[in-house]
């Protein structure tokens, strides 16, 4: 009895459930994590429970469905496709769902052969109101590299799930600060070349209608590289005639 009570308490405490997630009780929907930045996923896990948080409008995510009768793995269940109830709120391509506008949307596990529905679940999409950069400001050494992560929040300041689709650009100090690659997601790396000659800059990132600026300070830049009127080599050597 004490054990049962403890298990019950743990279940309540962690929000875990052994029951299928589908409304009809016929199967379980899983949220897939593939390494992209997503607040619904923790590092290293391949799938997780459906997020209790809403999902950011404009983001994408992946889902899988496993019927109760299947003995296969979560991602191994075949014969079902996940469709969105309305193309006005979400589009699906394979197991990837792209969110289009605010609202609740039913995602249905449809049997491919006969178009019957095995189960469905509702998820909520909410617009991004603010973006929180982490770290909010970046300091990196000349020649170094740092990462910037983003967290999307709604108008209630609640964190939103989903893989963000964002535009990253260097709006200040672009001659000495660069994005690594061509990031389009919820995280990016920036680098400052050793001889870039820039001591400060700004990274601007926009995800949908929300945006944030991240101030970047580059340290270890020699005065000459930084554009100082004093020639660094001359200063170090004690002067032009020194």
């Amino acid at each position: 009895m004490a054990t049962a009570a403890a298990v019950g308490a743990m279940t309540l405490a962690c929000g875990c459930s052994s029951h299928p997630t589908g409304v009809l009780g016929n199967g379980e929907f899983r949220y897939l994590c593939d390494g992209d930045s997503d607040t619904a996923c923790t590092s290293g896990e391949t799938d997780t429970d459906l997020p209790s948080a809403a999902i950011a409008v404009g983001s994408t995510f992946q889902m899988a469905y496993e019927p109760n009768s299947s003995a296969g793995s979560i991602q191994g269940a075949t014969g079902y496709e996940i469709i969105a109830a309305s193309p006005r709120l979400a589009t699906t391509s394979g197991d990837t769902i792209a969110t289009l506008r605010e609202g609740f949307v039913a995602l249905l596990a449809r049997h491919v052969g006969n178009s019957t529905i095995d189960d469905f679940v509702h998820l909520q999409f909410r617009s991004i109101r603010t973006l929180i950069a982490s770290p909010p400001t970046v300091t990196l050494r000349a020649g170094g590299q740092e990462s910037i992560g983003l967290e999307a929040r709604d108008d209630l300041d609640a964190t939103l799930a989903g893989r963000l689709r964002c535009q990253w650009e260097i709006t200040e100090g672009a001659s000495g600060i660069a994005l690594v690659g061509a990031p389009t997601g919820g995280s990016a790396s920036i680098t400052a070349p050793a001889q870039g000659g820039v001591t400060a800059g700004t990274v601007h990132v926009a995800c949908g209608a929300a945006s944030v600026d991240v101030a970047v300070t580059v340290t270890g830049v020699s005065p000459a590289d930084a554009g100082s009127p004093i020639d660094a080599s001359q200063a170090l050597d004690g002067g032009p005639n020194g």
Partner: protein, 127 residues
């Protein structure tokens, strides 16, 4: 002989008067929807993207009383651009109805092709 004729003629009269047929239909076990969407035997108001499931049940009546039918029940939509309907997998008697886009549709429960209940359903985009 006269009594037999009377009973026979009474039976014929009962059958001829339309005293048998569909009695009523219900939506049983309508699943909870996450917003203010509703679906009842009187009609429905669904937000775009919402789905719900229920078991359609139909009763017929005849001179012996009212009886629930278990076969030949189907659910159809008049406008698949607004509302779609699908059966649940594996002989489950439930159906799933979902709101595709704004507009009006009628969701009909039929018994052997005869309409037992026709619900007006309005779909609107979420605010």
């Amino acid at each position: 002989m006269a009594r037999s004729l009377l009973i026979a003629s009474s039976l014929v009269a009962l059958l001829a008067c339309g005293c048998s047929g569909i009695d009523h239909a219900t939506l049983d076990g309508v699943t909870t929807m996450p917003d203010d969407s509703t679906l009842t035997t009187g009609g429905g108001q669904l937000n775009t993207g919402i789905a719900t499931a229920f078991q359609p049940r139909v009763w017929t009546h005849n001179i012996w009383g009212t009886h629930e039918q278990t076969d030949g029940i189907d659910v159809q939509t008049s406008n698949a651009d607004v509302v779609r309907v699908a059966h649940v997998t594996d002989d489950d008697k439930r159906v799933v109805v979902w709101a595709v886009g704004p507009g009006q549709a009628r969701v009909s429960i039929t018994l052997d092709g005869e309409t037992a209940l026709s619900l007006p359903v309005a779909v609107t985009d979420p605010p």
